[in-house]
């Protein structure tokens, strides 16, 4: 089964089986060796990693207690601000941008002496489902490098699945944590909107964005979530975690838990994925949970609602890139307006430009009511539909993605076909709910299949409890040959 890597390494550090510097060096060497194949990291930070490791070793040598995340090598998606370390969003427009402050999540982990190995690859401004819109080229899948790692947090998933980091933090606007976790055969949690601070996360769509962990086990996801889910006055939508740490109830019995399956989630899903979900439902029954089938017809609006609202918010959020205060600036221009236009046109990639244009279109005079207002109202319908669903079940079981990881280059061809792959993940962001992706099988080519457990608002404890019980009973996780073999 997939045990907690964090707990195991913590024991090894405390018992002095390995020093933090030795451990960190192993990861730094592995990145040097395997990053060429995986393209997971866009910036490596070996010096700061070793400096932090040195501090942890000193504490251990003095006999001081260390925290669970102290000295554990990890990574951050390259849209999470790091003071003094480049944060590019994998865009030409931020290619050389160095933040002057830390995102709150990084501030929390830095204060616990987390060892940051570097910043990881992503779709440009988190817009994409394959990591291939990255200015630096896409991250590859550690189960087969001819396939994508997924997106947008493809770099974190590739690094964690490829053992080039113990855990990572990604961001999820329409599935960007869960989908790459599913493609790479690992665990990814999109927390409830407001559970984790967004301060310092470079915005894509502010009413959808959430930061969350990507790890190789449910227990590690719970440990990292407990650490970062704190109220933050710097984020006006922050609420922090409600209730006790999720690790406290992680291994509880789930007898009698009602697990709902909405039929609409299985429409258009590939057979191998559907089969894996059926098997997962059977595992839950064997654990004493009850499977409840129900309808969620509002799901049919989810994708267009998501793309309209997320692009509308993106067109506003990305208005700030003008070349004046930071980032890329066009070389020659005749006035300020020309400079801004040239900067944006040369600095943004095609997918980002398309989403800005769509967002501007749906917000523009004459189209606002038909698109933005209507989508916002249907968002309300979807929120209510989920609330009703949680009257008949405790958690919802669904596929994470209707298919397994695409081959490289496949996703860039048809825009709508690519958007359709987000069908199972976007409803959670629309309704602000928590969702976790857990590996639940492999297709005939050995590519991982993921399932999603969706909870009610601030219901992380329940979905992670259900996820842990499944992981423990089904024993699906397969490590890859890349990176550090513990």
């Amino acid at each position: 089964m997939s045990e907690s890597k964090i707990a195991k390494l913590h024991e090894m550090l405390v018992s002095k089986e390995i020093s933090c510097k030795e451990l960190t060096k192993q990861y730094i060497d592995a990145i040097e060796k395997d990053n060429e194949a995986l393209n997971a990291y866009v910036t490596a930070t070996p010096e700061t990693a070793l400096e932090t490791a040195g501090k942890v070793d000193e504490k251990i040598a003095k006999g001081e207690n260390i925290g669970l995340l102290e000295g554990i090598p990890m990574t951050l998606k390259d849209n999470i601000s790091t003071d003094g370390i480049k944060t590019t969003c994998c865009s030409k427009i931020l290619e050389d941008y160095v933040p002057i402050y830390d995102a709150t999540v990084w501030n929390i982990l830095k204060n616990q002496n987390a060892v940051l190995l570097g910043k990881t690859n992503m779709d440009e401004f988190a817009m994409g489902s394959s990591c291939e819109t990255s200015y630096f080229g896409g991250a590859k899948n550690p189960h087969n490098v001819n396939h994508v790692a997924g997106g947008s947090s493809g770099g974190v998933a590739s690094a964690v699945g490829g053992n080039l980091a113990v855990y990572g933090l990604g961001s999820d606007t329409g599935g960007s944590i869960r989908q790459p976790a599913s493609f790479c055969g690992i665990v990814g949690l999109k927390p409830t909107y407001g559970a984790v601070s967004r301060y310092g996360l470079i915005a894509y769509a502010s009413s959808f964005d959430q930061i969350g962990p990507i790890t190789t086990s449910v227990e590690d996801t719970a440990i990292v979530f407990d650490a970062v889910s704190q109220y933050d006055e710097k984020d006006s939508t922050s609420q922090g975690r409600k209730g006790e740490p999720v690790t406290a109830t992680l291994k509880n019995d789930i007898k009698g838990m009602k697990i709902g399956i909405a039929r609409e989630y299985l429409d258009g899903v590939r057979d191998d994925v559907k089969e894996a979900i059926d098997k997962a439902a059977a595992v839950y029954q064997s654990l004493g949970a009850e499977i409840v089938y129900f309808d969620l017809p509002a799901l049919k609006y989810a994708l267009p609602v998501y793309y309209i609202l997320a692009c509308a918010e993106a067109s506003s959020n990305l208005g700030r890139y003008d070349g004046i205060r930071y980032g890329y600036k066009a070389d020659s221009y005749f006035d300020v307006n020309d400079m801004i236009k040239k900067t944006r046109s040369n600095g943004f990639g095609d997918e980002v430009k398309k989403r800005i244009l769509l967002g501007t279109y749906v917000l523009s005079s004459g189209y606002y009511d038909a698109y933005y207002k209507k989508a916002q109202n249907l968002r309300g319908t979807i929120v209510n539909a989920f609330q009703n669903a949680f009257n008949v079940c405790d958690v919802i079981l669904a596929p994470t993605v209707p298919m397994t990881a695409f081959e490289n280059g496949h996703a860039v061809s048809d825009p709508i076909e690519t958007y359709l792959t987000d069908i199972c993940t976007v409803p959670v962001n629309i309704a602000g709910l928590p969702g976790v992706s857990v590996p639940c099988g492999y297709n005939s080519k050995g590519m991982p299949i993921g399932m999603q457990l969706i909870g009610n608002t601030f219901g992380e404890a329940k979905i992670l409890n259900a996820a842990w019980q499944y992981e423990n009973a089904a024993d699906i996780f397969k490590p890859t040959d890349f990176g550090v073999q513990l």
Partner: protein, 93 residues
């Protein structure tokens, strides 16, 4: 159908240039994307008023003066600065 003219108008609002070589491909893609977005207008459901996720309310606090970031550090990210300010071409003549 979305016209080339509409895409050009939206591009101006978005402060983006769309080149002659890009406009046909872009119009085709945008047409597909907008047709897809348009499916919500076939919904019989009018929806419900919605402007807030997870019952958030406004967070208010006293306006206090607190230390901010160092000016030099802020300006270090700008391509052009002068005398402690961001530098741009004349906006008014």
């Amino acid at each position: 159908m979305v016209s080339k003219e509409e895409i050009m108008k939206i591009a101006i609002l978005s402060k983006l240039f769309v080149g002659e070589d890009e406009i046909d491909g872009l119009t085709e893609d945008m047409d597909k994307i907008i047709a897809f977005a348009d499916t919500i207008n076939n919904a019989s459901d009018e929806g419900t008023d919605f402007d807030n996720i997870n019952n958030l309310s406004n967070v208010l606090r006293e306006d206090e003066v607190i230390p901010s970031y160092d000016r030099e550090k802020i300006l270090a990210n700008a391509k052009d600065s002068d005398d402690g300010c961001f530098l741009v071409k004349n906006i008014m003549k």
